[in-house]
Amino acid sequence: MTNGLVAAGLGGTVKLPPHLLAALAPLLVVVLALDVYCLVDVARARSVRNAPKIAWVIVILAFSAPLGALLYLFFGRDRGKSGGAPSAAPPGGQATEPTPASVADAAAEPPAPASREPIVTTSGLTRDYGGTGLFDVDLVVPRGSIYGLVGPNGAGKTTLLSIVCGVRRSDSGGVCLDVARDKIAVCPDVPEFDGWLTAYEVVDLARALVAGPARLGGAGREGGAGRNSGSDAILAALRTAGIGDVVDRRVAGFSRGMVQRLGLACALVTDPELLILDEPTSALDPAGRAEMLNLVAAMRGTKTVIFSSHILADVQRVADQVGILRDGRLLYQGSASDLIEQHLRPSWLVKIAGDAARVAQVMREQPWAARVEPAGGGLIRVDADSIESGERGIPAVIASCGARQVSCEPVAADLESAFLALTSQPLAEAR
C-alpha cells in the first residue's frame, strides 16, 4: 500500500486517500466501540427488556450502526442488572430469618403504657377532595406509643399521614409536632427508589439526605471512625429490615416485599423519634409480616410509631393506641382494649343437646338478647346487652325449653369485631 487504502465494494474497488482514512477512522472506532459495548452488555446481562437477548443482538448488528446500539441502550438495557454477583452470605453476617420464637414475643407482650405527652397533635384537620378526604380530625399520638390507624379503603389514612409528615397540606386545621423534622422518618406503602442503586446505596442516601454525606477518614476510604459508624448503621438497618443479604444488589431486581423492607431500612437508618409507616405489611408474606410487627413492637417506649393497616389483627397485636377512620372522620381514638370494651357486646357460643332451633327462638324474644344466630351442630351464638344479663339469662332460657346445655363459652373479643360494630353504625351514632 503506497497511497491510502484500497477498499473493495460492489461497484469495484475504491482507493481511500490517507486524509479520508484519518477522517473516517475515529467515526468507525466510536461506532464499533458502541456496538461492541452493547454486545458485551447483552452477553453479560442476566436479562434484557422488551425483547429476548438474541433479538437485541440482531438489532445491534443488523440496524444501521450505531442506531441499533442506541435503541438497545434506551429500550433494551436492563436497569436492574447487578453490579456484581449476589452475595451468598450477608456482609454483616447471617441473614435474618424470622423464627417462630423471634416472632413470638415482643408483639405478644402486653402494650406498655404510653407517656401521656403527645408527640403529634392535629386540630380540626380538614382536607376536602370534593366529598372525600379528611374532615375535622383531632389526632393525638402519645410519645412512645404504637399508634395503629385503621379504616376501610378510602377512609383517609394515607391523606392523614401525608399531612402529618408534611407532603400534603390541609384546607383547615393544623398539625403540631413535638419533634424535629429531621427526627421523623416516613415509609410509604409503596416505596420507590432509583433501580440502578444498590440497597446499601439507597440506605446511605437516605441517611445522607438527613445527616449529610459521611466524611472519608484520614486513613483511607474506610479509615474514618465516622465512616465506619455510618456504614455500621446502614448495615444494621438493612439487617433489621431483613435484607442484610442483598446489600450489594441493585434495587431494580427487588420484589415488592423487598422494596418495602428497604423502605423500612431507610426509615430506621436515621434513628428517628417518630416513625410513620403507611401499610408497612401490605406487600409482605406471612413470615415477613410477623417479623415487621415484631420489629414495630420492639420500638415501643423508645420510638413513636404511627402505622396504618387494613389488617386489624396486626393492629391489635402491636398497637397500644388505635384510631379508626371512616369516610375521613376519626370515629374512635384511644386504647385498643377500651375500644373493644366500649364497642363490643358480650357474646357466647352455646352448645345445646335438644331442640336448638326452639331455644334460639325463645332466646330472641328475651329483652337482653341483642343477637341470636344458630351456628349449626347444636351451636348458637348469643350476643347480650351486658355480661350479667347473658350469664343469668342463657341458662334460664335453656332450662325453660327443657333442653340441656352441653357447653357455654364466651367468644373472645377482638378488634375486628369492635371495628365492624363501630363502622357498621350510622356515622353520627358512631361518633
Binding site: 477522517a23 475515529p26 438495557r77 440502578w196 442516601l205 444494621a236
Partner: protein, 275 residues
C-alpha cells in the same frame, strides 16, 4: 433463635466481612453521577454528539459524490458548490440542535421528574430540609454533561472539518462553544422548570420541546430577536462565518438570567408541590 434488642433495633453492631468494602459515601452529587454512568444516559449523550461530530463533516465533504452516485443510474447530475470549512460545523450544529437537544431534554426532564413516582417523591421530600439539595446537583451535573457532550462533538467536528475541508478559526470556535454552552444551560433549566410544572416525565419533555420551538417563532418579532436564547443555536456557525461575539451578548445574558430565574421558579414549585 434470633433475638433482637428490645430497646433499639439498630443497637446491634454489625461488622462487614473482610472482603466486602462499603462503596463511596452517597450524597446528592454522587447520586447524579451514578444516574449518568449506571444508566445509558452518559453513553447516549456522548455517542449522539460525537457521532454527529465525526460524521457530519464527512457527509458535507462528500455530499456531491453521494448524491451523484445515488442518481447515477438516471445520469442525473446535481452539482453542489464545494464545501467551505464553516459548512462542516453548520451540518454538525444542524443535527445536534434537533436530535442532540431532544436527548438533553429527555435526560434532564428524567432527572427532575422525581415527583412522577409517589414513593420516590415521598422518600426525597420527607428527607431534604432544603429543596436546593435536590435541584443544585441535578442541574449542575446534567448541564455539565450536556455541555461536555457538545464540546466533545464540536472537537470531533473540528478535527474532521480541518482534515477534510479546511481549517477553522480557533477564537470563533471557542466563542461558538461558549454560546452553545449558555444555550444548553438554559435548556436544562427549562427542562427542570417544565418538570416542576408537569409531573409526568413525557409531558415535561413535550412541554420543553414546545417552548424551545416557540422561541424562534417569538424571534420573528425583530425587537426581541437578538435577546432570545434561541439565536445562540446558530451562533457556532455564524461566529466562524464572521459575526462578532458582541452580537450574541444580549442572548447570552438572557439565557443566563432566564436559567437562574427558571431554577428559582423550579425550587418554588417543587417546594410547594404536594406529593
Amino acid at each position: 433463635m434470633t433475638t433482637r434488642p428490645a430497646a433499639s433495633p439498630l443497637a446491634s453492631q454489625v461488622r462487614p466481612r473482610a472482603s466486602w468494602a462499603p462503596p463511596a459515601p452517597m450524597g446528592t452529587w454522587r447520586l447524579e453521577w451514578l444516574r449518568l454512568t449506571r444508566t445509558p444516559r452518559a453513553i447516549a449523550l456522548a455517542a449522539v454528539y460525537v457521532i454527529f461530530g465525526l460524521g457530519e463533516p464527512v457527509l458535507t465533504k462528500y455530499l456531491n459524490n453521494i448524491i451523484n452516485h445515488a442518481g447515477g443510474a438516471q445520469r442525473l447530475k446535481i452539482s453542489i458548490p464545494p464545501p467551505v470549512p464553516s459548512d462542516g460545523i453548520n451540518a454538525y450544529v444542524g443535527q445536534v440542535s434537533t436530535i442532540g437537544l431532544i436527548v438533553v431534554v429527555v435526560i434532564a426532564a428524567g432527572a427532575f421528574g422525581f415527583d412522577s413516582k409517589q414513593g420516590l417523591a415521598t422518600f426525597l421530600h420527607t428527607r431534604v430540609s432544603n429543596i436546593w439539595q435536590l435541584i443544585t446537583p441535578r442541574y449542575t451535573v446534567n448541564a455539565a454533561a450536556a455541555i461536555t457532550a457538545y464540546v466533545l462533538g464540536t472537537l470531533a467536528a473540528w478535527y474532521e472539518t480541518s482534515l477534510l475541508i479546511g481549517s477553522l478559526p480557533v477564537a470563533a470556535m471557542l466563542e461558538g462553544m461558549l454560546c452553545a454552552a449558555c444555550y444548553l444551560a438554559f435548556v436544562v433549566a427549562l427542562s427542570a422548570a417544565a418538570a416542576s410544572v408537569v409531573k409526568n416525565t413525557l409531558g415535561a419533555v413535550g412541554l420543553t420541546v414546545v417552548l424551545l420551538l416557540a422561541l424562534p417563532i417569538a424571534g420573528l418579532a425583530h425587537s426581541i430577536q437578538n435577546w432570545l436564547p434561541s439565536v445562540l443555536v446558530s451562533a457556532p456557525y455564524d461566529l466562524i462565518s464572521g459575526t462578532h461575539l458582541t452580537h450574541y451578548l444580549p442572548a447570552i445574558g438572557t439565557a443566563v438570567v432566564a436559567a437562574a430565574l427558571l431554577l428559582i421558579g423550579t425550587a418554588a414549585r417543587l417546594r410547594s408541590r404536594e406529593v
